[in-house]
């Protein structure tokens, strides 16, 4: 089943590279449905505690992988539903093919047990998405793609240094016998060996890994590519990048953390993640007060939320990690909906400048209301799920004695909240321009479902969610 889940998007990408016109859209729809079915099946099984492996253990889906797979396919499904609005004309084949290729690389990154394969997969996400960032082929999108490619390639190469050092640590433990290098190093092996690995190698290794994968995750100060790439990419790609690609980077860090904790004590990794988390919140809060461009505003809001995830992972414990995982899911759903709606707003208003958009609620009732709800969710207000996960993260912080970091995080969160509120107010109210509302109604159903799910997570957890989250957390916290 894991193999099937991975084969579907690759095959789809291959077919879509050749198909065109309506056939392509039909194939895209079919591939999306198959991806959702297979992904959710794999995720559901894993989240009930059934581990699955394939290819002699190279692919392994435990509850944590299952959680990530679930988030990826749901966000990809949302983005795929909007993709036909953007994929037309000469770029259609490239758009659909790279879209599914990107989904494949993300799914591979979270469903492999091999340190090296995960590195290759995360690198693949950059290669698959860089052309999509430059899809509009304007000056600004070219600049964004160039920055994205260069910064993320350097970042991923730094993560390679970290991976090499992990291998080296294993070679040191074996007193110079480098047998694992030939066959690959597994999480499961590493976790078992971790207490015997040298902390003097693992500490710098973790620093390189955090810088490298943190670049992908968009943690400040490695976030500089993010606002450009997220604001220049077409909306479905922004949704994918912001909603799940960042989380895949965070997932990579999360996988290494228990190994470093076991070898070098729990405080080392925690301190790094907390500092980067607070820094990300600070960078985002400072920018959100003067955004100028609403897609950039959403991109910086992603920096804010990835900072929160970093804080949750840093605070650690069952509460912190499960709060971070829940936040990944919540943010994925909320941010992708808002990015997709921002794409529609841009199509109608013809600008991404904040000053050019007002009266949204009256001009585009459906889109406007959706945007309002999504923004409220992103601000972390109840009854949306993000409120719940933020409470969990900060409860873990205060509980674990990180009082200053938690307090600083809360203050920055309030500042960011104010900035977002101001911008959303300016966009939603005011005199509406004379624009004709485009298609809505039926096409808004997937997004409405996502918002409904967020409310459900915020108010009363659906049956099974608590158990699933617990299982996913237990993959990291013993």
């Amino acid at each position: 089943m894991i193999v099937l889940m991975l084969v579907i998007p690759v095959t789809a990408a291959g077919v879509l590279a050749l198909a065109r016109g309506r056939v392509a859209t039909a194939v895209h729809a079919l591939a999306t449905l198959l991806m959702l079915t297979s992904g959710l099946t794999v995720a559901a099984r894993a989240l009930r505690g059934v581990e699955a492996t394939a290819f002699g253990g190279v692919l392994r889906v435990d509850a944590l992988s299952g959680w990530m797979i679930g988030v990826i396919v749901l966000v990809a499904g949302l983005a795929a539903a909007e993709a036909p609005r953007y994929a037309h004309g000469s770029g259609q084949r490239m758009f659909y093919a790279l879209f599914h290729l990107m989904v494949f690389t993300m799914l591979l990154a979270v469903s492999t047990d091999d340190v090296g394969v995960m590195w290759v997969a995360v690198e693949g996400t950059t290669l698959a998405s860089v052309f999509l960032v430059n899809f509009e082929r304007s000056r600004a999108s070219l600049e964004a793609a160039y920055k994205y490619l260069l910064i993320c390639s350097v970042g991923i190469a730094i993560a390679f240094v970290g991976t090499v050092l992990i291998y080296y640590a294993e070679a040191v433990r074996q007193q110079g016998v480098v047998e694992h290098a030939a066959q690959g190093l597994r999480w499961t092996t590493l976790l078992a060996l971790a207490p015997a690995l040298s902390p003097r190698v693992l500490q710098p290794a973790f620093v390189f890994l955090v810088i490298g994968y943190g670049t992908k995750a968009g943690l400040a100060p490695m976030h500089t590519w993010l606002p450009d790439a997220h604001s220049e990419a077409p909306a479905p790609v922004s949704a994918l990048m912001s909603g799940v690609l960042l989380s895949v980077g965070a997932y990579a860090i999360l996988r290494f953390k228990p190994i470093v904790d076991a070898a070098a004590g729990p405080l080392f990794a925690a301190r790094i993640l907390i500092v980067l988390g607070v820094l990300s919140l600070a960078v985002a809060a400072a920018f959100l007060w003067n955004p100028g461009n609403y897609k950039r505003m959403l991109a910086y809001s992603s920096v804010e939320h990835i900072g929160l995830v970093g804080l949750g992972l840093g605070f650690g414990g069952v509460l912190g990690v499960s709060g971070a995982l829940l936040h990944v899911a919540n943010h994925g759903l909320a941010k992708s909906v808002v990015f997709l709606l921002a794409g529609r707003i841009r199509a109608v208003y013809g600008t991404v400048e904040l000053s050019g958009v007002q009266g949204l609620l009256r001009a585009l009732p459906v889109t406007g209301r959706g945007f309002l709800l999504g923004m409220l969710a992103l601000m972390g207000l109840p009854p949306f799920g993000l409120f719940t996960s933020e409470v969990m993260i900060f409860a873990a912080g205060f509980g674990a004695g990180h009082v200053w970091a938690s307090a600083a995080g809360l203050v920055l969160l309030v500042i960011a909240f104010g900035g977002l509120l101001r911008a959303a107010h300016a966009m939603l109210f005011g005199p509406p321009p004379h624009v004709a509302p485009t298609a809505s109604g039926l096409s808004a159903v997937p997004m409405a479902a996502a918002l409904a799910a967020l409310v459900l997570i915020g108010l009363a957890w659906p049956p099974g969610l608590a158990a699933a989250l617990e299982l996913a957390t237990r993959a990291i916290v013993r």
Binding site: V120, L150, A157, G176, A181, G184, P204
Partner: protein, 215 residues
């Protein structure tokens, strides 16, 4: 094995330092090729002495990609650019000084790791050298004023990291090595596409012109 890896890594570091000093684009590409040959031979030597045929194969592919394929693309990229210095009118004394400082930093970071008592790898002496090359590559990349300069820096960085992988692990699994090559190739090819488009739109490769996205 210790002697040969140390010697090759040391020469490669020397070439990297000369690369920082050289300003002509063509000269830099030639130096990059020399560095690649040294590191390819290093990988082949480790593979041969440690009896790892896979690593010898990787070294062969590395030499093919880095000394033939990528320089060809680089020259094609540079074809339209004037043969001027990378940074006209600026002495290269300070960059070389900084690069020297980076070598010291590399030793400070890597020496405690590579000389762990239990580390019986005969190649450990080359680890700080490879890491120093990586830092210098990063430095060239960050300070590069145009797209070509940044690509050179990235390639030097990537080469050094390959060397670090070889001396620290005797070669990563085949799939990972393939991923590394794929990344370098795609990055260079994408960069060529970007450079072509940039030249068409801006009539220059100066990244200072890329200033539309701020904040």
């Amino acid at each position: 094995m210790t002697a040969i890896t140390n010697l090759l890594a040391f020469f490669a570091l020397g070439v990297t330092l000369v690369l920082v000093w050289r300003q002509s684009w063509r000269g830099r590409v030639h130096l990059f090729v020399v560095q690649s040959i040294l590191l390819g031979v290093l990988a082949a030597a480790v593979g041969g002495l440690a009896r790892r045929p896979a690593l010898v194969l990787v070294a062969a592919i590395f030499l093919l990609v880095k000394t033939w394929l990528i320089p060809r693309v680089l020259m094609r990229m540079a074809a339209g650019a004037p043969l001027r210095p990378v940074r006209p009118g600026r002495s290269s004394g300070i960059p070389v000084l900084v690069a020297g400082g980076l070598v010291v930093i590399a030793y400070v970071i890597m020496l405690p790791i590579s000389t762990l008592p239990a580390a019986a790898l005969p190649t450990h002496g080359a680890m700080p050298l490879a890491f120093a090359m990586a830092l210098i590559g990063l430095f060239i990349c960050v300070t590069g004023r145009d797209a070509l300069g940044q690509v050179t820096g990235f390639l030097v960085f990537e080469n050094a990291i390959f060397a670090l992988g070889v001396v620290a692990t005797y070669g990563m699994p085949g799939l990972v090595e393939a991923g590394v090559f794929l990344e370098v190739l795609v990055v260079v090819l994408l960069m060529e596409g970007v450079v072509v488009q940039m030249r068409r739109e801006h009539d220059s490769l100066d990244v200072d012109r890329l200033q539309e996205l701020r904040g």
